[in-house]
């Protein structure tokens, strides 16, 4: 009886998740009248804007990941090593992007960094790209910080630092040659999540008027019939890929820890 109810709950849930996925896949194959074909995908892949916006978002994710790692790894390391009293403050700040909606943050950017401000970032394309990267780094901050901090918990930061120092290493060497390799798996897992977030992000890119993948998808959705579900299938595959790589990284970490 209990098992029957459990199967019922699970299967009806799975049905709810499967139907939209089947729906979008089926719809994306229907472009040619009367038969299934990959025409919609061919059209999408032949569109130069697809590659331009996708490349742009990919480059922006790379920049976001670099900013995130450079910002988060030294900070989390330093808090663990020397400043445990700063932990509540840092953790509170890293949780803020979950509290303040992205649309409010970008609204603040637009008013804060317009052409008549002390830091006129929105005045140029490069400036806006930098601002958008910082915005994405902010959105990814809660995930990146948690991931790296959990990674640091598994190693003895104090002993590693003292050992490195007694061998004559400076702070830069300690961070890049000792700490970073040790939390690489955590960094990777944060990086793949960042990639998944940035590639599909719509609100910030649209409001800052940058040619990113999210606004491109939205624009196509407003004007076409068969290409949007094809894009949805592609986006789902990308998300799946990012999460798969993330899980792989975590599994790798468990394996490593078991050996140690």
């Amino acid at each position: 009886m209990m098992r029957l109810v459990a199967w019922g709950a699970l299967l009806s849930g799975c049905l709810f998740f499967l139907l939209p996925l089947v729906g979008m896949t089926e719809f994306s194959l229907k472009m040619r009248r009367g038969e299934y074909s990959f025409d919609a995908y061919a059209v999408v892949f032949a569109d130069p804007s697809f590659w331009a916006t996708f490349g742009y978002s990919l480059a922006l994710s790379a920049a976001t990941i670099v900013v995130g790692v450079v910002l988060v790894v030294p900070t989390a390391y330093w808090v663990r090593l020397k400043l445990p009293q700063a932990r509540p403050f840092v953790e509170f700040v890293t949780l803020l992007p979950l509290v303040i909606p992205a649309i409010v943050i970008v609204f603040g950017y637009i008013r804060m960094y317009n052409t008549s401000s002390f830091l006129p970032l929105t005045g140029s394309a490069l400036g806006t790209d930098i601002l958008l990267t910082m915005g994405y780094a902010t959105l990814a901050l809660p995930y990146m910080y948690r991931s790296v901090d959990t990674g640091l918990r598994t190693i003895d930061v104090g002993v590693l630092t003292e050992a490195a120092q007694s061998l004559g290493a400076g702070w830069y060497t300690i961070l890049t040659k000792i700490i970073l390799p040790n939390v690489m798996v955590a960094v990777l897992s944060g990086a793949f999540l960042t990639l998944a977030i940035v590639l599909g992000e719509f609100t910030m890119a649209a409001l800052l008027n940058r040619p990113a993948f999210g606004p491109y998808m939205q624009l196509l959705g407003a004007n076409r019939a068969y290409e949007p579900p094809a894009l949805a299938v592609i986006a789902f595959a990308i998300t799946w890929g990012c999460m798969g790589l993330m899980q792989l990284a975590t599994r790798f970490a468990k394996h490593e820890r078991a050996k140690a």
Partner: protein, 291 residues
Amino acid sequence: MPTDPIRRAPRRLPLEWLGILPFAIFAFLFLILPTMRIVIGAFQTPEGGFTFQNLLDLNTDSIRAAYWTSIKLSFYTAILGCAAGFAMAAAVVFGGLPKGVRSPLLTFSGVASNFAGVPLAFAFIATLGPVGLITVWLRTEFGINLRAMGFNLLSFWGLVITYLFFQIPLMILIITPALDGLKREWREAAAVLGATGVQYWRMVALPILFPSILGTFALLFANAFGAVATAFALTGPQLNIVPIKLFAQIRGDVLGNPNLGYALAFGMIVITAAANLLYIWLRVRSERWLK
């Protein structure tokens, strides 16, 4: 070894705080300062004087309706997401299902909770839209016309169904570890004392789980309240919910008063902050039991 800790302490302290200076500067410039700008702007006249007028001006029919629709949308998706997510997680943890079910479900939940925004809207249009898979199937096979029955994907309930696609997985991801934390001994202890299954759930398990469930509810609420992309891609700028209204205001000052836009954003911060504080507070409470 420090020989004189009293003399050393004041010299050491500021230098160590320098280590988190880059982080502090980043957070100040790209998180705190922009948010402060919005909060302060909500209490300013266009000339820069202090006023409560912007917040009072929120009290128009259109803006009140937007907040109310947003709150209802967040509430329904959070409560349905919690219920369905709990049912699925409980089925996997206690239902005696094969062990192989659990890991794929959690992996899928990780993917689905991140599959939000524009593509999600496309998926639902292709499924429940006017010529979507289910709509057409019901019409041709059973003669059921969803549209004639009053269902429209580009409406409040359509949005609820779409949001559930990322709300349910989020609930599964957060509640499964909590369900795992329920110790077998508690159930056995209750049974030894003569409790029935229902009594165990009502008097032992649910009180322990309650902070987790309510906390996740608050998180799902805030999650839905701040979401823009899915609703925008699904319904365009027409639907009257707060994030869409704010989006239109930022793009083209549709309210005709920039400071009213600040007030609108300030209202969003207040609501999501309240929901998140509830989540954090309850999470701390629930961690006492579920270690």
